[in-house]
């Protein structure tokens, strides 16, 4: 780390290092809860706590039991020999597998819907000639701000009336709405650095608006669009209140399954799933970071 200048007093030195220690503790507070689920998910006992065996690093105290349970719980014949039929059984019948399938299906559909609509809207909103810009922006961002219980309750009544509650479409629409603010925010942020004369240059060279959009604007804002899309995906993937109000057991998602797991039968399977989710978020975070760097390079912004 940076060398302290020679004129610093002892008091300043003490403060400098104790400040670092305080920050270290806060970072620990931030990261520890995310990391603690990893070792606990390998517990051989059905508890949420470290057993003496685990603390002594006894290999007997660790197992993959709860990861297997993700596949086995709910299967028709979990003890059948490992074969194609076993996998088909797990894929079709295991509760967690169904939740995983549902989460990805709903998440991807919601992501596509909110990215498409949100990107168009962000492009419109970034034009200076847009009328009522501020009002419309605040309406479009509001799903992020309105308490989820109110959103979910309102949608519950409305979607019940139009026969959309307890359907995949209803959940997808609800999640798409909740995801759009993130798409708008990230795409708008990319558009701030967008050089408008590029569009004019394309126009003057004879490109139509659609060709300009796909050939000029889109390649430049695509990193923002993708990271907005990932935000929308993770929002849907992580959302449980709307699912609690709108979904039937058929549409149970991973967070919904965890919710009832925590409330009803607390088992370390939840920790195993949690570990997988942490890995997923690390992957998504890496992708976002790479996209951000690419976007900076494309727009000629060098990291300071």
């Amino acid at each position: 780390m940076a060398q302290l200048p020679p004129y610093t007093t002892t008091g300043e030195r003490v403060w400098h290092y104790s400040f670092r220690v305080i920050c270290g503790l806060i970072f620990l507070f931030l990261i520890l809860p995310v990391l603690i689920v990893l070792p606990l998910s390998f517990n051989v006992e059905p508890y949420f706590s470290f057993t003496p065996g685990m603390l002594a690093f006894d290999p007997e105290a660790y197992s993959l039991r709860w990861y297997k349970d993700i596949f086995r719980n709910g299967m028709a014949a979990p003890d059948a020999p490992l074969s194609l039929a076993w996998f088909a059984d797990a894929w079709n019948n295991a509760q967690w597998m169904r939740a995983i399938r549902n989460s990805f299906f709903i998440g991807i559909c919601a992501m596509l819907l909110s990215t498409a609509l949100g990107t168009l809207a962000a492009i419109g909103l970034s034009r200076s000639e847009m009328p009522y810009r501020r009002l419309i922006m605040s309406i479009l961002i509001s799903p992020m701000i309105v308490p989820l219980v109110i959103t979910a309750a309102g949608m519950f009544f409305f979607y019940s009336k139009i026969q959309l509650s307890q359907t995949y479409l209803g959940v997808i629409m609800a999640h798409a709405i909740l995801g759009t603010p993130f798409v708008i925010i990230t795409v708008t942020a990319t558009l701030v650095g967008f050089d408008k004369s590029l569009v004019r240059a394309a126009n003057s060279l004879g490109a139509g608006p659609i060709q300009t959009f796909f050939k000029i604007q889109m390649p430049l804002i695509i990193p923002g669009v993708i990271s907005g899309g990932l935000f929308a995906f993770i929002t849907s993937f992580d959302e449980v209140v709307a699912v609690l109000f709108l979904a039937s057991p058929e549409q149970r998602t991973i967070p919904r399954q965890m919710w009832s797991g925590i409330r009803e039968q607390i088992s370390p399977t939840i920790l195993a799933v949690a570990t997988l989710l942490v890995l997923l978020s690390i992957i998504l975070l890496t992708v976002i970071e790479l996209l951000r760097r690419r976007s900076e390079r494309l727009r000629g912004v060098t990291p300071s």
Binding site: F29, P33, F48, L120, A121, I123, I145, V149, F231, A274
Partner: protein, 415 residues
């Protein structure tokens, strides 16, 4: 060219008009891009919320299901003895509801106004077919309660479809039959206390986030980029991790057999048989919510601190300020926009929190959202849920408006 003649475009129209047309077209194009999403959000988000809010002031269950009695109840003054005519109409409506199997809804609706009347309605409706005139005496004979004026007053109140009653209940008041309001006695006030607790918990979470977020954001903003990028991962990873994963993790850490208590017992601060209860109470809610919302404080603070040139602090030092004085007088005032942005965002998000309090809050860590969910799903008093939600939403919208005014929603940044 004559100076008085307007400049025209190639096709002869005045240039001014042509420009206006072009401007209008580009305006239309911009609006056209926004329109699909705006329509989608208005139709399936804004409209449902308005419909929900409408339920908070309007509930026509009684009026709709008791069509005979409703007119008579409306003209009744609410104080005089109910007439035989009213009893007759009541029996007619009870019979009809029994036949339509809607009596449960009527009974629940009146029961919301006066507890303990549910069975009065359902059991009387069962016997209504056999009752014979005079109905007043017959009804009082089946259930003595029918002679009580307060049952009739409750019916008159529920008969009023457009009512401030649910908002009154949300604020621990009673809407009375003479259209006045009476505060409930101190002991029976639950909702105002819950609102105050929600504000207090959100406020504590906000302050804790500020307290923990400020040093971290400062460190991130002042370190060289190669270190700060690495440390930023520690902020962003929790931000990207599922809410339920983090809540689960806190259960594992804070429960009585959890990591923290194990360490405290091992160190000797706590005895094995009297471990601290850190979860399923307000402490658990505050700790878990602080952790979950901390990135929302750090990110705006960091982006403001990044823009503060370090030379300002050096200038203050060279002019003779002590490090503390320079920090308080020069650095902190420049970070106020970041503190405002982060603080408001954390407060807005905390005030409507539902999942974490429901899972780790126990009894005294519940927030107003949990009460709304309870009335939505368990007690099925949807109008009361809507009224409580209306107050919560009103508060959030005021904060949102303030956020837009002070910081501007265009300046919201995520990671």
């Amino acid at each position: 060219m004559n100076a008085t003649q307007p400049i025209t475009a190639a096709d002869g129209t005045p240039l001014k008009k042509k420009l206006a047309q072009a401007m209008f077209r580009s305006k239309l194009r911009a609006a056209g891009l926004v329109a699909p999403l705006l329509a989608f959000v208005l139709a399936s988000f804004i409209f449902p919320i308005f419909a929900l809010m409408w339920q908070g002031v309007h509930n026509n269950t009684f009026e709709r299901l008791m069509p005979n009695l409703t007119e008579e109840l409306r003209v009744w003054d609410g104080l005089s003895e109910p007439t035989e005519e009213m009893y007759t109409l009541l029996v007619a409506d009870l019979r009809q509801n029994r036949a339509d199997k809607t009596i449960g809804r009527v009974a629940s609706r009146v029961n919301q106004e006066l507890a303990g009347t549910r069975s009065l309605f359902t059991s009387t409706a069962r016997k209504a077919a056999k009752l014979e005139p005079p109905y007043r005496d017959a009804l009082i004979k089946t259930k003595k309660k029918w002679g009580e004026i307060k049952v009739w007053q409750a019916m008159k109140l529920t008969n009023q479809s457009l009512t401030p009653g649910f908002y009154a209940t949300s604020l621990d008041a009673v809407y009375t039959v003479d259209q006045g309001f009476i505060m409930k006695e101190e002991k029976r006030q639950i909702y105002t206390k819950l609102f105050i607790r929600t504000l207090m918990i959100s406020g504590s979470v906000m302050l804790l986030c500020l307290l923990l977020g400020y040093p971290v954001a400062y460190l991130l903003a002042t370190l060289p980029l190669k270190y700060s990028n690495l440390l930023m991962i520690m902020v962003l990873l929790p931000f990207w991790t599922s809410l339920l994963v983090r809540t689960t993790a806190w259960i594992a850490i804070l429960q009585s057999q959890g990591v923290v208590n194990d360490i405290l017992v091992w160190v000797g601060i706590a005895a094995d048989d009297s471990r601290f209860s850190l979860i399923y109470n307000m402490t658990g809610t505050i700790i878990a919510m602080t952790h979950i919302l901390l990135p929302f404080m750090i990110l705006p603070l960091y982006s403001v601190m990044k823009t503060i040139p370090p030379s300002y602090m050096r200038a203050a030092r060279s002019l003779g300020a002590t490090p503390t004085r320079a920090f308080i007088k020069v650095y902190v005032p420049q970070t106020i926009p970041g503190m405002g942005a982060g603080g408001l965002l954390v407060f807005i998000l905390a005030i409507g929190y539902y999942i974490t309090p429901a899972l780790v809050g126990g009894q005294d860590g519940q927030l107003i959202s949990n009460m709304i969910a309870y009335h939505m799903q368990k007690s099925l008093n949807w109008s009361l849920a809507a009224a409580l939600g209306g107050i919560l939403l009103g508060g959030v919208l005021i904060l949102y408006w303030a956020y837009d005014r002070i910081i501007g929603i265009d300046n919201m940044k995520l990671g």
